[in-house]
Structure formats: C-alpha cells, structure tokens
Symmetry: C2
Subunit: 232 residues, 2 copies
DNA sequence: GCGAGCTCTTGACAAATATCAAGCAAAATG
DNA sequence: CATTTTGCTTGATATTTGTCAAGAGCTCGC
C-alpha cells in the first residue's frame, strides 16, 4: 500500500489517536483498491469481512427487500462505512456500490476487532464515530416520519446549499433519481415536488438549484438543528 | 441508592465487564427514582445530563417537529437510553416519557464519560451497545422505506408474536394509538390495516391478536432477518 | 453531427394514506 | 351504578403518493 494513502487514513478521527504501532499493524493487513463506477462492493446479508474507508469518489449505501430498493445514505471521503457490522461481527445490513470511480481501503474486520481490544484510544474513537452515525440515522428517521415529501425536499435543499457554501445558486450532489430514493419518494414525485417549491422561490435547471427567496423557503421548510444539523 | 438495584444494573452488558471500583464510582453519583405514568423525563434539544437506565416499567422515545409528533422506539427493562447523546455530550435528539409507572436510574453523563475514558472494558461495552442501537435504527429505517403500512403491521405482528413466545394468540404490548405512531401511520389507518390483514387470517379483539394461518401471513409479510431480527 | 440510450418530465389515472366527523365500547370516575 | 372520559372504529372525503405511458431533453459514442 502506498505511503501517501497512509497519511489520509491516519488523519481520520477514527485512526488519529491510536498507537502508531497498532496503526501500522492495521495497515499491514489492509489494501487499497480503485473501483470503477457502479460496482457493488458489498451485499447486505453477507458477513462483514472488511471495514471500508473511502479515500476518494463516493459510495451509495442501499438496501433491498421484496424487489424494491432504496438509497439509505451516501459516503464521501474521507470516512468509513459498515463500522457497526465490523464491530459486532454481524452481517451487513446495507449493500454498497460506487457512484463514481472510487479509491477504497479495505481493512480486515478481525484486525479491527483485535486492535480495538488492545487499544483504548482506538476504542474510544470508534465509540465517538458510532455515536455520530447513530445520531445521523435517528435524524433521518425523524425526517422521514415527521415531514411530507415536499418538506423533506425543501430541507434537503437548504442542507445542500449550506454544504455547497451557502450561496444562492448551487448544484445537486447526485442525480435526481437517486435523490428521490434518498428522500423516500419516486423520481416522478421529485419532479413534482420541485414544482411545488416554485412558489417559495426555488428554481431548477438541470442539476442547478437557485434559491430565490431564502427567508420564504426557510419559513416553509422550518429546518431544525435536531434533524438537519449533521454536525451535532 | 438501595443495594438491590445495584445487582440489576451490574448485570447489564454495559456495566458487567467494567472494574468494580469504576462501577462503584458510577453508582455513587447515580440515583434511582420512581416515576408515575406519562411523565416526560427528558426533552429533545436539552443537554444530556444523565444516562438513563430503566429498571422497571417502560419508556416511550418520541420526537416532535412543527406540531407533529411520532414514537421512535420503546425502551424496556433492563436497558439504557440516550447513550449516544451522553457519549457525544450532545443534546438529546429524542424526548422520553414513561408509559407506565417506571423505576429509572439516572447516572450523571460526565461520570459516564470520565469512567469511559479510564476503563477500556467499559468503553468496549459501550461500543457494542451503540453498534446494536445503530443497527436497530437502520432496520427501522429499512422497514419504513421499503414497506407499505400493511406490510409493516404484518411484520410487526410476527415480531411481537415471537417476543410473546411464538403462540397463535398473543397481546399487543401497548395501546393502538401508539402502535400506529411507531409504525408511521394514523390510528384510523391502523384500524383499517388490521382489517386488511383479515384475509391472511389475522383476528383482532381488543389488544388480543390471533394468527389464524401462520404460513399465509408470513407469505404476505415476507419477514427478513436483515429488518426484523432485532438480535443481530 | 446524428442516432441510441439515458434521465427527466408530464399527464392521466390508480392506490395509499390522511383528515374530519360521528358513533361505539370499554374503562375510569364520582 | 350511572356518568363521563377515553380510545377505538367506521364512513365519507380530500390529499398525497405511486404507477403507467408517452414525450422531451441530454449525453455519449461512433
């Protein structure tokens, strides 16, 4: 594995506080790979053999049941995914596929569990990471249960706007079909939802969004830090 | 705090592996209280001052936004709640209220964080607990996004049946109004959903459920361990 | 530069779900 | 024991959301 990748991984909260010796040990068994777009990296139900770390690109976590499927979350660099399954040595609950060309580190799960048992700092880092992941899912669930699809879209736009720097004009981060799935609706409905936000000053042109009247949209969306603020 | 309560708490996975000294230290700052039904123990948005442990009774975790509210989960003895907020020293994401007369232990959050920093075993236990909570929420989210309300009810009944011992006849664990909220629907719709399951052999009389044709209901519900098995 | 294959949009329609209002039944209360 | 309250159910209706089919607009590769 190239030295350069070491640095990026070491910088992750998850790995930044552990003993150097243990980090080296983890990395010895790990390997980096480049994947093309649309490759299914893991499949739900399978045993969790590797902890994954995204160095570049992006990953779609999704799930299927009875012929239906839904996007659960997007993983962006630099962060890990499927940490909970690795820790619990339990089967993956979600599948993962590359959205674009992606560079991924694969760390054998049993190595993670072994180091986790002997390195207190590493264990603490894992706790913090897991607690954050947990809180993120809780927020998503509140979003799903307490809001209509129009409200979910409005709040999503406000979040994405912030992530893009807060300007009036910004781009969607991925294709609308997937956005619809993330927000728990059909692509057709997403189209209509965008139209439904026009009265609040939202203009759409391809992937480009314009927030015409910030105050008006926020008055409708009623964003809450307890749902929309992913940093806390 | 009475000695008898110690034993119950000590038996929890979360506390069973830590050093006795640290456990004593945690308990010194903790106190036990009895609450009547329908008391709001914590409110979302407030700082997480205490880790809560339910010794008896049951707790409803719920959330509100824009005048609406929804039940997120039920906590039964003996287990903790609001662990993630305690660990991250972040505001509560959910409110909690007693459903019935309940006995609760309150452990100061800063004590938990302090012991967590010096006791590796405790830290590991917390990781396991958190990972389980995380996976539980992911399963709930899959249930919400991939299934219709009728399918959610059918699978809920199968889960509840199992929890109640697996017999053909069993009781609902709480009132229907709350069940509706847990399943993400209105009480009126829950009534209709029960009727919708009659063709599959489900009979309802008050809180008493009878599964007339197990195979038929399962064929419709299509339960999956990756959604409905809360042990993994 | 042009067609093939996409995604996205739109309209018409169907299904699912929510809302409102009323009535019923069981449980709590005096 | 009667009365009130509360939760549950039901029907009628409205709203939301999904489905199907068709067409518009893009992108990509040849």
């Amino acid at each position: 594995m190239p030295e350069s990748a070491y640095q990026d991984i070491r910088k992750l909260h998850l790995f930044s506080n552990m003993a150097d010796e243990h980090f080296q040990s983890l990395m010895r068994g790990a390997y980096v790979q480049n994947f093309p777009p649309q490759i299914e990296l893991i499949t739900e139900g399978e045993p969790s053999d590797f902890l994954h770390v995204v160095l570049s690109g992006s990953i779609d976590l999704f799930s299927q049941w009875n012929g239906r499927d839904t996007s659960m979350a997007t993983v962006r660099p630099v962060s890990t995914f499927i940490l909970a399954a690795t820790i619990n040595n339990a089967p993956y609950l979600m599948s993962a596929r590359t959205l674009e060309k992606s560079r991924i580190v694969l760390v054998p799960s049993q190595d993670v569990r072994a180091i986790f048992d002997i390195d207190g700092n590493f264990a603490r880092s894992i706790v913090t990471e897991l607690a954050q992941c947990y809180r993120a899912v809780v927020k998503t669930q509140k979003d799903l249960k307490l809001r209509t699809s129009l409200e979910r879209l409005a709040n999503y736009l406000l979040r994405q706007q912030r992530r893009a720097g807060g300007g009036t004009v910004f781009d969607l981060e991925f294709e609308k079909r997937r956005l619809a799935s993330v927000l728990g609706m059909t692509p057709e409905n997403l189209s209509r939802a965008f139209k439904g936000l026009q009265p609040y000053g939202v203009t759409v042109s391809g992937t480009r969004i314009t927030i015409g009247d910030q105050a008006d949209l926020e008055k409708f969306a009623k964003p809450s830090p307890l749902i929309d603020d992913f940093s806390t």
